[in-house]
Symmetry: C2
Subunit: 224 residues, 2 copies
DNA sequence: TTAAATTCGATAGTATTACTATTATATTTG
DNA sequence: CAAATATAATAGTAATACTATCGAATTTAA
Protein backbone atom coordinates (compact mmCIF):
# COMPACT_ATOMS: atom_id res chain seq x y z
CA UNK A 1 0.00 0.00 0.00
CA UNK A 2 2.35 2.64 1.22
CA UNK A 3 5.50 1.47 -0.42
CA UNK A 4 4.83 0.00 -3.83
CA UNK A 5 3.38 3.20 -5.16
CA UNK A 6 4.48 6.28 -3.35
CA UNK A 7 1.50 8.45 -2.50
CA UNK A 8 2.58 11.92 -1.40
CA UNK A 9 1.18 13.05 1.96
CA UNK A 10 1.81 16.48 3.45
CA UNK A 11 4.49 16.31 6.16
CA UNK A 12 2.17 18.20 8.46
CA UNK A 13 -0.28 15.27 8.55
CA UNK A 14 1.96 13.23 10.85
CA UNK A 15 4.65 13.64 13.51
CA UNK A 16 6.70 10.61 12.41
CA UNK A 17 6.17 9.22 8.91
CA UNK A 18 4.08 6.09 9.60
CA UNK A 19 5.44 4.38 6.48
CA UNK A 20 8.94 4.52 7.93
CA UNK A 21 8.51 1.86 10.59
CA UNK A 22 6.77 -1.38 11.36
CA UNK A 23 4.75 0.21 14.16
CA UNK A 24 3.70 3.09 11.90
CA UNK A 25 2.44 0.73 9.23
CA UNK A 26 0.48 -1.39 11.69
CA UNK A 27 -1.11 1.82 13.03
CA UNK A 28 -2.41 2.63 9.54
CA UNK A 29 -3.61 -0.87 8.69
CA UNK A 30 -5.33 -1.51 12.02
CA UNK A 31 -6.81 2.01 12.14
CA UNK A 32 -8.61 1.33 8.84
CA UNK A 33 -10.03 -1.91 10.23
CA UNK A 34 -11.07 -0.41 13.56
CA UNK A 35 -12.58 2.85 12.27
CA UNK A 36 -14.54 0.86 9.69
CA UNK A 37 -15.77 -1.44 12.43
CA UNK A 38 -16.76 0.93 15.24
CA UNK A 39 -16.90 4.36 13.55
CA UNK A 40 -14.67 7.37 14.13
CA UNK A 41 -16.59 8.63 17.20
CA UNK A 42 -15.94 5.48 19.18
CA UNK A 43 -12.46 5.01 17.79
CA UNK A 44 -9.70 5.79 20.33
CA UNK A 45 -5.94 5.39 20.35
CA UNK A 46 -6.34 3.27 23.46
CA UNK A 47 -8.52 0.72 21.61
CA UNK A 48 -6.15 0.80 18.64
CA UNK A 49 -3.24 0.27 21.03
CA UNK A 50 -4.83 -2.91 22.40
CA UNK A 51 -5.19 -4.31 18.87
CA UNK A 52 -1.64 -3.59 17.77
CA UNK A 53 -0.35 -4.37 21.27
CA UNK A 54 1.29 -1.00 21.82
CA UNK A 55 0.49 1.70 24.36
CA UNK A 56 -1.54 4.64 23.14
CA UNK A 57 1.33 7.03 23.85
CA UNK A 58 3.35 5.31 21.13
CA UNK A 59 0.61 6.08 18.63
CA UNK A 60 0.66 9.71 19.75
CA UNK A 61 4.28 9.80 18.68
CA UNK A 62 3.13 9.28 15.09
CA UNK A 63 -0.10 11.32 15.05
CA UNK A 64 -0.86 14.19 17.38
CA UNK A 65 -4.59 13.39 17.45
CA UNK A 66 -7.09 10.91 16.12
CA UNK A 67 -8.32 13.66 13.80
CA UNK A 68 -4.87 13.94 12.26
CA UNK A 69 -4.81 10.17 11.69
CA UNK A 70 -8.22 10.29 9.97
CA UNK A 71 -7.05 13.20 7.81
CA UNK A 72 -3.95 11.21 6.87
CA UNK A 73 -6.03 8.20 5.81
CA UNK A 74 -8.42 10.32 3.74
CA UNK A 75 -5.54 12.17 2.12
CA UNK A 76 -4.00 8.82 1.27
CA UNK A 77 -7.32 7.73 -0.26
CA UNK A 78 -7.41 10.72 -2.62
CA UNK A 79 -3.78 10.21 -3.55
CA UNK A 80 -4.69 6.65 -4.44
CA UNK A 81 -7.74 7.84 -6.40
CA UNK A 82 -5.53 10.23 -8.37
CA UNK A 83 -3.30 7.31 -9.23
CA UNK A 84 -6.34 5.25 -10.26
CA UNK A 85 -7.63 8.13 -12.37
CA UNK A 86 -4.36 8.35 -14.31
CA UNK A 87 -4.64 4.65 -15.10
CA UNK A 88 -8.33 4.74 -15.97
CA UNK A 89 -7.93 7.65 -18.39
CA UNK A 90 -4.54 6.76 -19.90
CA UNK A 91 -4.43 6.44 -23.68
CA UNK A 92 -8.06 7.44 -24.13
CA UNK A 93 -8.54 10.07 -26.77
CA UNK A 94 -12.10 11.19 -26.11
CA UNK A 95 -12.54 13.65 -23.22
CA UNK A 96 -16.17 12.54 -22.93
CA UNK A 97 -15.13 8.97 -22.43
CA UNK A 98 -12.44 9.97 -19.93
CA UNK A 99 -15.05 11.87 -17.91
CA UNK A 100 -17.34 8.84 -17.96
CA UNK A 101 -14.49 6.73 -16.62
CA UNK A 102 -13.74 9.30 -13.94
CA UNK A 103 -17.35 9.37 -12.72
CA UNK A 104 -17.52 5.58 -12.74
CA UNK A 105 -14.33 5.54 -10.66
CA UNK A 106 -15.82 7.96 -8.13
CA UNK A 107 -19.08 6.04 -7.80
CA UNK A 108 -17.69 2.49 -7.74
CA UNK A 109 -14.36 2.92 -5.93
CA UNK A 110 -15.65 0.90 -3.00
CA UNK A 111 -16.83 -2.09 -4.99
CA UNK A 112 -13.50 -3.62 -5.87
CA UNK A 113 -11.76 -5.88 -3.43
CA UNK A 114 -8.31 -4.38 -3.66
CA UNK A 115 -5.64 -4.82 -1.04
CA UNK A 116 -2.41 -2.85 -0.92
CA UNK A 117 0.16 -4.13 1.56
CA UNK A 118 -2.62 -5.49 3.74
CA UNK A 119 -4.81 -2.36 3.69
CA UNK A 120 -8.38 -3.02 2.62
CA UNK A 121 -9.24 -0.27 0.11
CA UNK A 122 -12.98 -0.94 0.20
CA UNK A 123 -12.96 -0.43 3.97
CA UNK A 124 -11.05 2.80 3.46
CA UNK A 125 -13.72 3.80 0.93
CA UNK A 126 -16.42 3.15 3.53
CA UNK A 127 -14.50 5.34 5.96
CA UNK A 128 -14.27 8.13 3.38
CA UNK A 129 -18.05 7.94 2.80
CA UNK A 130 -18.95 8.06 6.49
CA UNK A 131 -16.20 10.18 8.00
CA UNK A 132 -14.62 12.50 5.46
CA UNK A 133 -17.21 15.26 5.87
CA UNK A 134 -16.24 15.31 9.55
CA UNK A 135 -12.62 15.98 8.61
CA UNK A 136 -13.40 19.29 6.91
CA UNK A 137 -16.64 20.43 8.57
CA UNK A 138 -14.84 21.78 11.63
CA UNK A 139 -13.77 25.12 12.99
CA UNK A 140 -10.15 24.09 12.31
CA UNK A 141 -10.70 23.66 8.57
CA UNK A 142 -8.59 26.67 7.58
CA UNK A 143 -5.66 25.53 9.69
CA UNK A 144 -5.93 21.97 8.35
CA UNK A 145 -6.13 23.31 4.80
CA UNK A 146 -2.93 25.30 5.28
CA UNK A 147 -1.25 22.12 6.46
CA UNK A 148 -2.12 20.41 3.20
CA UNK A 149 -4.84 18.18 4.61
CA UNK A 150 -7.03 18.48 1.50
CA UNK A 151 -4.29 18.81 -1.10
CA UNK A 152 -4.87 15.38 -2.64
CA UNK A 153 -8.64 15.86 -2.71
CA UNK A 154 -8.30 19.26 -4.40
CA UNK A 155 -5.79 17.77 -6.81
CA UNK A 156 -8.21 15.02 -7.80
CA UNK A 157 -11.02 17.54 -8.31
CA UNK A 158 -8.71 19.74 -10.40
CA UNK A 159 -7.73 16.81 -12.62
CA UNK A 160 -11.31 15.85 -13.42
CA UNK A 161 -12.25 19.52 -13.78
CA UNK A 162 -9.63 19.84 -16.52
CA UNK A 163 -11.37 17.04 -18.45
CA UNK A 164 -14.63 18.97 -18.20
CA UNK A 165 -12.87 22.09 -19.48
CA UNK A 166 -11.73 20.05 -22.50
CA UNK A 167 -15.31 19.04 -23.25
CA UNK A 168 -16.72 22.53 -22.81
CA UNK A 169 -14.19 25.35 -22.25
CA UNK A 170 -17.00 27.79 -21.57
CA UNK A 171 -18.52 25.81 -18.70
CA UNK A 172 -18.27 27.90 -15.54
CA UNK A 173 -18.80 25.34 -12.78
CA UNK A 174 -16.48 22.33 -13.21
CA UNK A 175 -15.25 22.22 -9.61
CA UNK A 176 -18.70 22.87 -8.18
CA UNK A 177 -20.18 20.12 -10.33
CA UNK A 178 -17.48 17.70 -9.27
CA UNK A 179 -17.64 18.30 -5.56
CA UNK A 180 -21.42 17.98 -5.88
CA UNK A 181 -21.02 14.63 -7.65
CA UNK A 182 -18.34 13.25 -5.32
CA UNK A 183 -20.05 14.18 -2.06
CA UNK A 184 -23.46 13.32 -3.52
CA UNK A 185 -22.37 9.89 -4.73
CA UNK A 186 -20.89 9.10 -1.34
CA UNK A 187 -24.09 10.15 0.41
CA UNK A 188 -26.32 8.11 -1.90
CA UNK A 189 -24.43 4.94 -0.94
CA UNK A 190 -25.03 5.76 2.71
CA UNK A 191 -28.67 6.73 2.16
CA UNK A 192 -29.42 3.57 0.18
CA UNK A 193 -28.39 1.55 3.22
CA UNK A 194 -29.71 3.69 6.07
CA UNK A 195 -32.16 6.37 4.85
CA UNK A 196 -33.74 4.98 1.69
CA UNK A 197 -36.35 7.74 1.52
CA UNK A 198 -33.56 10.19 0.68
CA UNK A 199 -32.55 8.31 -2.44
CA UNK A 200 -34.15 6.17 -5.18
CA UNK A 201 -32.46 2.80 -5.10
CA UNK A 202 -32.86 0.84 -8.29
CA UNK A 203 -32.51 -2.80 -9.19
CA UNK A 204 -29.43 -2.27 -11.33
CA UNK A 205 -26.20 -2.05 -9.37
CA UNK A 206 -24.86 0.94 -11.28
CA UNK A 207 -27.79 3.33 -10.92
CA UNK A 208 -25.69 5.84 -8.92
CA UNK A 209 -23.06 5.87 -11.65
CA UNK A 210 -25.71 6.32 -14.35
CA UNK A 211 -27.48 9.09 -12.44
CA UNK A 212 -24.33 11.16 -11.96
CA UNK A 213 -23.03 10.53 -15.49
CA UNK A 214 -26.35 11.78 -16.83
CA UNK A 215 -26.32 14.76 -14.46
CA UNK A 216 -22.77 15.70 -15.40
CA UNK A 217 -23.16 15.56 -19.15
CA UNK A 218 -26.47 17.42 -19.19
CA UNK A 219 -25.01 20.16 -17.02
CA UNK A 220 -21.81 20.50 -19.03
CA UNK A 221 -23.23 20.37 -22.52
CA UNK A 222 -25.63 23.28 -22.38
CA UNK A 223 -23.90 26.22 -20.78
CA UNK A 224 -25.93 28.18 -18.24
CA UNK B 1 -40.05 30.28 17.53
CA UNK B 2 -41.35 27.30 19.35
CA UNK B 3 -44.76 28.57 20.23
CA UNK B 4 -46.19 30.77 17.51
CA UNK B 5 -46.06 28.07 14.88
CA UNK B 6 -46.07 24.60 16.22
CA UNK B 7 -43.34 22.54 14.58
CA UNK B 8 -43.78 18.85 15.29
CA UNK B 9 -40.73 17.12 16.78
CA UNK B 10 -40.60 13.42 17.55
CA UNK B 11 -41.04 12.77 21.27
CA UNK B 12 -37.95 10.61 21.20
CA UNK B 13 -35.73 13.60 20.44
CA UNK B 14 -35.97 14.90 24.00
CA UNK B 15 -36.51 13.70 27.56
CA UNK B 16 -38.58 16.71 28.65
CA UNK B 17 -40.19 18.89 25.96
CA UNK B 18 -37.90 21.95 25.94
CA UNK B 19 -40.73 24.19 24.75
CA UNK B 20 -42.65 23.43 27.95
CA UNK B 21 -40.50 25.45 30.34
CA UNK B 22 -38.44 28.59 30.62
CA UNK B 23 -35.25 26.57 31.19
CA UNK B 24 -35.98 24.37 28.17
CA UNK B 25 -36.42 27.36 25.89
CA UNK B 26 -33.23 29.03 27.05
CA UNK B 27 -31.40 25.75 26.40
CA UNK B 28 -32.53 25.84 22.76
CA UNK B 29 -31.84 29.53 22.18
CA UNK B 30 -28.43 29.55 23.82
CA UNK B 31 -27.43 26.23 22.22
CA UNK B 32 -27.94 27.76 18.76
CA UNK B 33 -25.74 30.72 19.70
CA UNK B 34 -23.01 28.60 21.28
CA UNK B 35 -22.83 25.84 18.64
CA UNK B 36 -22.70 28.50 15.93
CA UNK B 37 -19.89 30.23 17.79
CA UNK B 38 -17.57 27.38 18.81
CA UNK B 39 -18.74 24.43 16.67
CA UNK B 40 -20.36 21.20 17.78
CA UNK B 41 -17.09 19.43 18.69
CA UNK B 42 -16.17 22.02 21.30
CA UNK B 43 -19.76 22.52 22.46
CA UNK B 44 -20.44 20.96 25.87
CA UNK B 45 -23.40 21.05 28.25
CA UNK B 46 -21.03 22.44 30.86
CA UNK B 47 -20.24 25.51 28.72
CA UNK B 48 -23.93 25.91 27.86
CA UNK B 49 -24.75 25.66 31.56
CA UNK B 50 -22.43 28.56 32.36
CA UNK B 51 -24.18 30.74 29.77
CA UNK B 52 -27.72 29.99 30.93
CA UNK B 53 -26.58 29.85 34.55
CA UNK B 54 -27.80 26.32 35.22
CA UNK B 55 -25.82 23.20 36.05
CA UNK B 56 -25.14 20.80 33.20
CA UNK B 57 -27.15 18.07 34.92
CA UNK B 58 -30.26 20.18 34.47
CA UNK B 59 -29.67 20.21 30.71
CA UNK B 60 -29.29 16.43 30.81
CA UNK B 61 -32.80 16.28 32.17
CA UNK B 62 -34.04 17.68 28.83
CA UNK B 63 -31.64 15.99 26.39
CA UNK B 64 -29.85 12.75 27.07
CA UNK B 65 -26.80 13.81 25.04
CA UNK B 66 -25.45 16.73 23.07
CA UNK B 67 -26.08 14.66 19.95
CA UNK B 68 -29.76 14.46 20.80
CA UNK B 69 -29.87 18.24 21.24
CA UNK B 70 -28.22 18.77 17.84
CA UNK B 71 -30.67 16.34 16.24
CA UNK B 72 -33.55 18.24 17.84
CA UNK B 73 -32.33 21.56 16.44
CA UNK B 74 -31.84 20.14 12.94
CA UNK B 75 -35.24 18.47 13.04
CA UNK B 76 -36.74 21.80 14.07
CA UNK B 77 -34.94 23.46 11.14
CA UNK B 78 -36.50 21.07 8.62
CA UNK B 79 -39.93 21.49 10.19
CA UNK B 80 -39.49 25.22 9.77
CA UNK B 81 -38.34 24.74 6.16
CA UNK B 82 -41.44 22.66 5.47
CA UNK B 83 -43.53 25.53 6.79
CA UNK B 84 -41.58 28.00 4.63
CA UNK B 85 -42.05 25.76 1.60
CA UNK B 86 -45.83 25.71 2.04
CA UNK B 87 -45.80 29.50 2.08
CA UNK B 88 -43.41 29.89 -0.85
CA UNK B 89 -45.41 27.56 -3.09
CA UNK B 90 -48.93 28.48 -2.00
CA UNK B 91 -51.29 29.63 -4.77
CA UNK B 92 -48.77 29.04 -7.52
CA UNK B 93 -50.18 27.08 -10.41
CA UNK B 94 -47.03 26.13 -12.31
CA UNK B 95 -45.13 23.16 -10.91
CA UNK B 96 -41.98 24.42 -12.63
CA UNK B 97 -42.23 27.71 -10.82
CA UNK B 98 -42.94 25.99 -7.50
CA UNK B 99 -39.78 23.90 -7.95
CA UNK B 100 -37.78 27.04 -8.71
CA UNK B 101 -39.06 28.59 -5.51
CA UNK B 102 -38.23 25.43 -3.56
CA UNK B 103 -34.64 25.37 -4.81
CA UNK B 104 -34.24 29.08 -4.11
CA UNK B 105 -35.51 28.41 -0.58
CA UNK B 106 -32.96 25.62 -0.06
CA UNK B 107 -30.04 27.67 -1.36
CA UNK B 108 -30.85 30.99 0.30
CA UNK B 109 -32.42 29.94 3.61
CA UNK B 110 -29.48 31.36 5.53
CA UNK B 111 -29.54 34.79 3.95
CA UNK B 112 -32.61 36.19 5.63
CA UNK B 113 -32.35 37.72 9.05
CA UNK B 114 -35.34 36.04 10.65
CA UNK B 115 -35.85 35.68 14.35
CA UNK B 116 -38.44 33.43 15.97
CA UNK B 117 -38.90 33.94 19.71
CA UNK B 118 -35.29 35.03 20.00
CA UNK B 119 -33.81 32.17 17.94
CA UNK B 120 -31.59 33.32 15.11
CA UNK B 121 -32.63 31.30 12.04
CA UNK B 122 -29.56 32.23 10.01
CA UNK B 123 -27.32 30.90 12.78
CA UNK B 124 -29.39 27.72 12.83
CA UNK B 125 -28.87 27.52 9.06
CA UNK B 126 -25.09 27.80 9.55
CA UNK B 127 -25.31 24.97 12.08
CA UNK B 128 -27.27 22.82 9.63
CA UNK B 129 -24.61 23.42 6.95
CA UNK B 130 -21.67 22.56 9.19
CA UNK B 131 -23.08 19.96 11.53
CA UNK B 132 -26.06 18.13 10.04
CA UNK B 133 -23.96 15.56 8.20
CA UNK B 134 -22.51 14.62 11.58
CA UNK B 135 -25.99 13.90 12.91
CA UNK B 136 -26.65 11.11 10.43
CA UNK B 137 -23.15 9.90 9.48
CA UNK B 138 -22.83 7.77 12.62
CA UNK B 139 -23.10 4.13 13.56
CA UNK B 140 -26.31 5.01 15.45
CA UNK B 141 -28.11 6.29 12.35
CA UNK B 142 -30.59 3.41 12.20
CA UNK B 143 -31.56 3.83 15.83
CA UNK B 144 -31.91 7.61 15.41
CA UNK B 145 -33.98 7.10 12.28
CA UNK B 146 -36.37 4.79 14.13
CA UNK B 147 -36.76 7.50 16.76
CA UNK B 148 -37.92 9.95 14.10
CA UNK B 149 -34.73 12.02 14.04
CA UNK B 150 -34.92 12.59 10.27
CA UNK B 151 -38.68 12.63 9.88
CA UNK B 152 -38.89 16.35 9.10
CA UNK B 153 -35.98 16.19 6.67
CA UNK B 154 -37.51 13.23 4.83
CA UNK B 155 -40.86 15.02 4.82
CA UNK B 156 -39.33 18.10 3.21
CA UNK B 157 -37.60 15.97 0.56
CA UNK B 158 -40.86 14.11 -0.11
CA UNK B 159 -42.76 17.38 -0.58
CA UNK B 160 -40.33 18.76 -3.15
CA UNK B 161 -40.08 15.34 -4.80
CA UNK B 162 -43.83 15.43 -5.39
CA UNK B 163 -43.42 18.71 -7.29
CA UNK B 164 -40.81 17.03 -9.49
CA UNK B 165 -43.22 14.15 -10.10
CA UNK B 166 -45.79 16.69 -11.27
CA UNK B 167 -43.33 18.11 -13.79
CA UNK B 168 -42.21 14.72 -15.07
CA UNK B 169 -44.08 11.67 -13.73
CA UNK B 170 -41.61 9.36 -15.46
CA UNK B 171 -38.53 10.78 -13.73
CA UNK B 172 -36.99 8.02 -11.62
CA UNK B 173 -34.72 9.96 -9.25
CA UNK B 174 -36.59 12.79 -7.53
CA UNK B 175 -35.38 12.02 -3.99
CA UNK B 176 -31.83 11.34 -5.12
CA UNK B 177 -31.74 14.59 -7.05
CA UNK B 178 -33.08 16.52 -4.09
CA UNK B 179 -30.73 15.14 -1.47
CA UNK B 180 -27.91 15.81 -3.93
CA UNK B 181 -29.06 19.42 -4.31
CA UNK B 182 -29.66 20.05 -0.61
CA UNK B 183 -26.40 18.56 0.65
CA UNK B 184 -24.53 19.97 -2.34
CA UNK B 185 -25.86 23.50 -1.85
CA UNK B 186 -24.92 23.40 1.82
CA UNK B 187 -21.40 22.24 1.01
CA UNK B 188 -20.88 24.90 -1.65
CA UNK B 189 -21.55 27.63 0.91
CA UNK B 190 -18.94 26.07 3.17
CA UNK B 191 -16.44 25.51 0.33
CA UNK B 192 -16.81 29.08 -0.95
CA UNK B 193 -15.62 30.30 2.43
CA UNK B 194 -13.02 27.69 3.35
CA UNK B 195 -12.03 25.52 0.37
CA UNK B 196 -12.58 27.70 -2.72
CA UNK B 197 -10.81 25.23 -5.04
CA UNK B 198 -13.71 22.83 -4.53
CA UNK B 199 -16.27 25.27 -5.90
CA UNK B 200 -16.50 28.07 -8.48
CA UNK B 201 -17.53 31.20 -6.65
CA UNK B 202 -19.01 33.85 -8.92
CA UNK B 203 -19.54 37.55 -8.59
CA UNK B 204 -23.32 37.29 -8.49
CA UNK B 205 -24.72 36.39 -5.08
CA UNK B 206 -27.15 33.80 -6.42
CA UNK B 207 -24.79 31.61 -8.42
CA UNK B 208 -25.45 28.60 -6.18
CA UNK B 209 -29.19 28.97 -6.69
CA UNK B 210 -28.76 29.31 -10.46
CA UNK B 211 -26.41 26.35 -10.67
CA UNK B 212 -28.77 23.99 -8.86
CA UNK B 213 -31.88 25.27 -10.64
CA UNK B 214 -30.17 24.60 -13.95
CA UNK B 215 -28.97 21.18 -12.77
CA UNK B 216 -32.43 20.21 -11.53
CA UNK B 217 -34.38 21.19 -14.63
CA UNK B 218 -31.91 19.64 -17.06
CA UNK B 219 -31.96 16.40 -15.13
CA UNK B 220 -35.74 16.26 -14.80
CA UNK B 221 -36.71 17.25 -18.31
CA UNK B 222 -34.93 14.56 -20.28
CA UNK B 223 -35.56 11.24 -18.65
CA UNK B 224 -32.58 8.92 -18.35
C1' DT C 1 -57.44 22.63 51.41
C1' DT C 2 -54.19 19.73 52.28
C1' DA C 3 -51.65 15.47 51.65
C1' DA C 4 -49.62 12.73 48.03
C1' DA C 5 -47.54 12.54 43.79
C1' DT C 6 -44.91 14.36 40.50
C1' DT C 7 -41.81 17.59 38.45
C1' DC C 8 -37.83 20.22 38.66
C1' DG C 9 -33.18 21.73 39.44
C1' DA C 10 -28.81 21.28 42.20
C1' DT C 11 -25.00 18.63 44.28
C1' DA C 12 -21.65 15.58 43.89
C1' DG C 13 -20.06 12.30 42.01
C1' DT C 14 -17.73 8.38 38.03
C1' DA C 15 -15.72 6.27 33.95
C1' DT C 16 -13.72 7.47 29.86
C1' DT C 17 -11.30 10.28 26.72
C1' DA C 18 -7.63 12.88 24.66
C1' DC C 19 -3.41 14.02 25.51
C1' DT C 20 1.46 14.84 27.92
C1' DA C 21 5.77 14.65 30.72
C1' DT C 22 9.17 11.72 31.81
C1' DT C 23 11.83 7.70 31.95
C1' DA C 24 13.64 3.37 30.13
C1' DT C 25 15.35 0.75 26.19
C1' DA C 26 16.90 -0.06 21.81
C1' DT C 27 19.41 1.38 17.61
C1' DT C 28 22.50 4.01 15.01
C1' DT C 29 26.62 6.59 14.31
C1' DG C 30 31.38 8.29 14.79
C1' DC D 1 32.45 0.72 21.99
C1' DA D 2 30.79 5.03 23.69
C1' DA D 3 27.90 8.91 22.61
C1' DA D 4 24.00 10.37 20.32
C1' DT D 5 19.67 9.52 18.75
C1' DA D 6 15.40 7.25 17.94
C1' DT D 7 11.80 4.55 19.89
C1' DA D 8 8.60 2.85 23.15
C1' DA D 9 6.60 2.32 27.90
C1' DT D 10 4.98 4.19 32.41
C1' DA D 11 2.34 7.01 34.75
C1' DG D 12 0.21 10.48 34.95
C1' DT D 13 -3.66 15.04 34.13
C1' DA D 14 -7.46 17.96 32.72
C1' DA D 15 -11.58 17.80 30.51
C1' DT D 16 -15.58 15.36 28.83
C1' DA D 17 -19.89 12.93 28.85
C1' DC D 18 -22.87 11.26 31.74
C1' DT D 19 -25.43 9.47 36.27
C1' DA D 20 -27.33 8.75 40.99
C1' DT D 21 -29.44 11.01 44.38
C1' DC D 22 -31.60 14.55 47.13
C1' DG D 23 -34.40 18.46 48.53
C1' DA D 24 -37.58 22.06 47.00
C1' DA D 25 -41.35 23.55 44.28
C1' DT D 26 -45.45 22.65 41.82
C1' DT D 27 -49.38 20.06 40.49
C1' DT D 28 -53.00 16.80 41.30
C1' DA D 29 -56.71 14.58 43.64
C1' DA D 30 -59.71 13.59 47.69
Amino acid sequence: MLLKINIPISEKLFLIDPTSSRLGKSILLSAIELIDEIGFEKFTFKKLGVIIDSPEASIYRYFKSKNQLLTYLISWYWGWMEYRLLFETANIESAEYRLQRAIALITTAGDEKIEMDGADISKLHTIVISESAKSFLTKDVDKANKEGAFYNYKQFVAMVASIIKEINPRYKYPNMLLSTIIEGAHLQVFFAEHLPMLTNKQASADYITEFYKDLAFKSIKNTI
